[in-house]
Symmetry: C2
Subunit: 263 residues, 2 copies
DNA sequence: CGTTGCGTTGAGACATTTCAAAATGTGTGG
DNA sequence: CCACACATTTTGAAATGTCTCAACGCAACG
């Protein structure tokens, strides 16, 4: 058993994302990581562009959608970050993922017509909304795009299964190490430093996600600092010994290589 | 931390599944639950039929594929049951799922060209092998089929996330209850009794899957029997009080209704 | 400058694990 | 079909990692 506390901050909800930022996929720095990867010709990217709605930024705590809402769109994070979570009957929350820029959110609602999780901004966040019916139309003519959608989902399955492994076999130290290593590697891929970054989630949210009590998270952080593995001031994290951390995370060898190779 | 023991039984491996049973999808009792659901016309089902390879049965312990094998096909369980598992660097296994007849296995390998898990028969098991390139060709002409593939994956994501919730928030009793309720409901959907059935996995495998030590699983079982919730003789399970079990499982209300409604 | 939210730290409680051993089940070769 | 070897399951007792509860510090904020 872990944290029984819920941390929903604002019941505020943003149903219709309005047009107010005019950026196009072809100018977006994220496009090599995002949906446009699947589209070869500029013309196709422009088509994608047209179906995407770019709304006003979500403020911290605002929901993009709630568990049970009608499934209409998938979303790509443009900037900021989101968390997704489910809750049990008794109202306990389980965070199922943190989502960084270029990552797609909402696809798991595909076959139920309802989102199976809620999505909430952890900081000021911009998203691209892609109406699913339009996306499917576009995918009709673009096998590559279809394929990529499947790939995104299959990656999510793999990640979730690694998470199951973490939750059922790893101890507190290993969980936190895994989490940091994973975050670092995602930051790096997005062009940010993998050595030092800012966590967008609270200790509480981290604990919730990792199946640990807040206090345990805090204790592991101070322990890691004493061992000179990391340096943490609040949410600012500096990774001092990525190798050691990766070793401790003890995941797949392939994930480790990715991070420990010098940046 | 849980069971450190691995239970791989046979390193034997079945690479090429040979033709030896001639059953077609249209005569298969599972087709309403399986891929053919997506195909409206008998002609299309026959096409699907042609690309499916039906091999000799796998014996208990035999592998369908190993983690890291080249991804070539997805598989549907015809009879018997499979488990899929990943393993950490140190060789610890984590079972990621048990698969009953009509369920699809292997889709999560889609985007890496390698299966991210191993799949092993838990008893004598027959599978239908569907070469992925052929499946994609067929899907080209059948939006419904494409959609169903996506649905299968999105369902897997949802299930995995519920599993994450189980692993991070539920205690031993709740985990076992959830597991039994879930199995029962899957059996029912397949036309078997949801009241009494045979577990195809060992206590060890159950523990591994649920993030519990074997001994804990055993203890919970005896406790449940003393409380007249179930009656268990070895792998034969009889569910005496489905309502209580569902309540204890404490998952989503919608899952509970499915089971507790009288059969 | 009190309030509020979040993070840290300590001490004790507790569920589950670990270790050990007995009991039961299963498969195999004679 | 029995007997033996081996695997699995059960049960008990002790060990332990994490949680819970409680208190405190700190920063942001009206």
């Amino acid at each position: 058993m872990t944290s029984k506390l819920n941390l929903r901050q604002t019941p505020v909800r943003q149903a219709n994302v309005r047009q107010c930022t005019n950026v196009s996929c072809k100018d977006c720095s994220l496009s090599p990581l995002c949906l446009p990867t699947a589209l070869r010709f500029e013309e196709d990217i422009i088509n994608l562009d047209h179906i995407i709605k770019r709304g006003r930024p979500l403020k911290k705590g605002e929901h993009l959608f709630l568990e049970g809402d009608a499934f209409t769109s998938v979303f790509a994070v443009r900037s900021g970050s989101l968390k997704t979570y489910t809750s049990t009957n008794e109202g306990e929350e389980q965070i199922t993922g943190f989502h960084l820029p270029s990552e797609l959110v909402g696809l798991s609602g595909m076959d139920t017509d309802h989102y199976p999780v809620s999505a909430q901004a952890m900081e000021t966040t911009m998203v691209c909304e892609i109406p699913f019916d339009k996306l499917e139309e576009l995918a009709l003519e673009h096998p590559q795009l279809r394929r990529q959608l499947m790939c995104v989902m299959s990656k999510e399955i793999r990640d979730d299964q690694q998470m199951m492994l973490l939750l059922s076999k790893k101890n507190a130290d290993e969980r936190i190490a895994t989490f940091l290593v994973n975050l670092a590697s995602r930051f790096r891929r997005r062009g940010f430093s993998s050595q030092s970054f800012r966590l967008s989630m609270s200790r509480n949210e981290m604990g919730n996600y990792l199946g640990l009590a807040v206090e345990t998270v805090s204790r592991v952080f101070t322990r890691f600092q004493k061992q000179d593995l990391i340096h943490a001031v609040g949410k600012e994290i500096e990774i001092l010994d990525p190798q050691a951390l990766s070793r401790m995370a003890g995941g797949k060898a392939r994930d480790q290589i990715e991070l420990t190779s010098v940046h």
